[in-house]
C-alpha cells in the first residue's frame, strides 16, 4: 500500500494539483476523512494508501463517483450545498474541501457544516487577492483569467471567490480557529512560513487552511 502511495504522490507532484499533497500532509494517519468534491478520488486514494485513513467522499459527477467506486473508495453522489446536512456531528476527524468552496452557493453554511461533521476542516481555494488578479481588474478593467482561475467570467463555476484575507475573516466570523495555513505560489510550492498576511494575500496563488472549532 505504501509503495502505491509513493507512486501516487510522485505522479501528483508532477500534476497541476500539488495542493492535494499539501492537504494530504495535514491529515493524521489512521484518521477518518470525508473529502467533499472528491473528483476521481485521487486525494482519497493517496490518503488511504499512504496514511491508512478511513477515506470517504462526496462527489457531484457520476463519472467521478464511478471512478472512486472502482478504486474501492466509499463515495456518495451528492452536493456540498445540499447533502452535508445528512451527516451526523463529529463523524469524521477531517472534512476536506479542495478547490470547491468558491463554487458552492453558500460557502459559509458549507464551512459550518464541515466543522460540525468533522473535528477539523481543511479547505484549499484560489486566492482572488493575488497580484495578477488585482492587476487584471485594476489595469485592464477585465475579470481575471489566470492559471488558477482559467475560465472566463461567463463560464466559470466559481461564483463565490474570495481573497485569503476574506477567508480569514469568514473563519473568524464562524468561530473557527486556524490550526495551519499555507499559501502556495503559482507553481504550487508552499511560500515561506513567516511571511506576513498581506504578502500571502498578494503573492499566494492559492491557500490551504486547516480549521478547528474553538473551545
Amino acid at each position: 500500500m505504501a509503495d502505491r502511495g509513493e507512486a501516487r504522490r510522485a505522479a501528483l507532484s508532477r500534476s497541476a494539483r500539488i495542493d492535494l499533497l499539501v492537504v494530504a500532509d495535514m491529515v493524521e494517519p489512521k484518521s477518518r476523512v470525508l473529502d467533499v468534491g472528491c473528483g476521481d478520488g485521487t486525494l482519497l486514494a493517496l490518503l488511504a494508501e499512504e496514511r491508512g485513513v478511513d477515506a470517504r467522499g462526496v462527489e457531484l459527477s457520476q463519472q467521478g463517483v464511478n471512478d472512486c467506486v472502482a478504486k474501492g473508495l466509499s463515495v456518495v453522489q451528492g452536493d456540498a450545498d445540499t447533502d452535508l446536512g445528512d451527516y451526523p456531528d463529529d463523524a469524521f476527524d477531517y472534512v476536506i474541501l479542495s478547490q470547491t468552496l468558491q463554487a458552492t452557493r453558500q460557502p459559509r453554511k458549507v464551512l459550518e457544516h464541515m466543522l460540525r461533521i468533522g473535528r477539523r476542516a481543511i479547505v484549499s481555494f484560489p486566492n482572488f487577492g493575488h497580484w495578477r488578479v488585482r492587476t487584471q481588474v485594476a489595469l485592464l478593467g477585465r475579470m481575471p483569467v489566470t492559471d488558477c482561475l482559467a475560465a472566463r467570467w461567463y463560464e466559470t463555476p466559481n461564483i463565490h471567490l474570495c481573497t485569503i484575507r476574506d477567508f480569514v475573516a469568514l473563519a473568524h466570523a464562524i468561530g473557527a480557529k486556524t490550526e495551519h495555513s499555507i499559501a502556495l505560489d503559482r507553481y504550487g510550492r508552499p511560500m515561506p512560513i513567516n511571511a506576513p498576511w498581506r504578502v500571502w494575500n498578494l503573492f499566494g496563488d492559492q491557500a490551504v487552511f486547516c480549521l478547528s472549532r474553538k473551545g
Binding site: D54, Q62, V65, N66, K71, S74, V75, Q77, G78, D86
Partner: protein, 424 residues
Amino acid sequence: MRPLTLRSPHFYIPDASFAIANAAAEPGIERVVTIVPKQRALGHIEADTPHSLAVHFGADRPLKMDAGGAFAPLSIAYQTYGALNAAKTNAILICHALTGDQHVANAHPVTGKPGWWQTMVGPGKPIDTDRYFVIATNVVGGCMGTTGPASTNPATGRAYGLDLPLVTIRDMVRAQAMLLDHLGIETLFSVIGGSMGGMQVLQWAASYPERVFSAMPIAAAAKHSSQNIAFHEVGRQAIMADPEWRNGRYLDEGTNPNKGLAVARMAAHITYLSEKALQRKFGRNYQDREAPTFSFDADFQIENYLRYQGASFVDRFDANSYLYVTRACDYFDLAGDYGGSLAAAFKGTKTRFCVVSFTSDWLYPTTDSRAIVHALNAAAASVSFVEVQTDRGHDAFLLEVPEFFATTRGFLDAAARARGIAES
C-alpha cells in the same frame, strides 16, 4: 373451466401450455383468440417439482415467521453458478424482485427465456461466475419451488392457498440464512438485489451484519410508501375480484384467476417504466392499423404491449403467490423494527455498501435510496451511492445500463481485493 378470451386481432400468445383456437369473428373484431388451459399450468408444476436445486427442511428445522409461529416443512429452491473457493469467501447471494425467481443466469424452465439477470451474472460479467460463487433462491411465498401458496401442503394433500402464513421480507431472509447454513457458508462476500431484492439486501445487512461483507441494494427502499402500497392493493384487488379466484382455492377447483392476475401485472408494469420511456417506445402509435376502430379493442400499441405483459405473466406466476409477495413488500419498514431509526438498523455495521438508484425510477425514487444512504452515513457505515442517469424507469436495474454495470464491477472488484478473493 372457462377459457380466457382476449379480444385482440394480433395478439401473440407465446406459451405452448395453451391451446389456441380461432373462434368466429364478432362484428368489428377480426378474430377472437381463445386460450384454453390444457392442464395445470407449467408454473404451478414448478411449485412442487422445480427445475432447480432444492433443499427440504423438516419439522426439526422450522422457519420462524413474523406472522407468528414456526413453519415446517419448508422447501427452498435455488440455483448456483460458479464454484465456492476453499476458504468459502467468494459466495454472492442474489435476491430477486417481486416476480423474479432463482433462474438468474439460465434459461427459464417455464418460458424458455434467458435468465432475468443473464447480462449481469456469468463468466466475465460484472458479477463474474469465474470468480464468485453465485447463489440465488426463490423467496418464501414464491411459486418456483420454494414453499409458497401454490405448494402442496403435505398435511392436506392440497395447495396451501391462503393457509400459508403471511410472509415478510425478514422471513424470506431467514429462510435464505437457513440455506446458507445448510450449504456451510458462514459469510457472504456480497448480497445483491434490486427492488424487492434490494429490500432483502437491507434486511440481510440489518439481521446478519457479521455474515455480510458487502451489500448492494439497487432501486430499493427501506420501507414501502403509501403509493407503493396503493399500487399493490390495486393488483391484489384485481386478482381477488376475479370470480375464478374462488377465495384462493382455485387450484382445488380447477379454475385460474388469469384475468385478475393479468390486470394486476398490467397495472404494476406501468410503475416499472418511466413516462418518457413509454412515450418514446409507444407514443400514441396505433397497433397495426391506421385509424382508431371506435371500439375497446387494443387500438394503441401500449394497450397491446400491456395485454401481452399480462397474458405472458400468467403462464409463469401464481395468483396467490402474487398476493403474498406484494404483501411482504407492503409490510417492509426496516426502521420500524429498530425503534423508528433506520440508522439503528445498521449500527456498528462493518459491511461495505453500494446503493444504486435510477433517475427516472418513480416507484422507488432516488429519495428512497438517499434515505438509506443518510442512515448508513449516520451509522458511520462504509457507503457508496450512485444515481444512474437513465430514462428507463424502475426496470433499469434489469437492463444493461453501462454506468450501472461499471459501478457494480468496480464495487465488487474493490471489495474482492479487500476480501482477498483471487482474480479469475
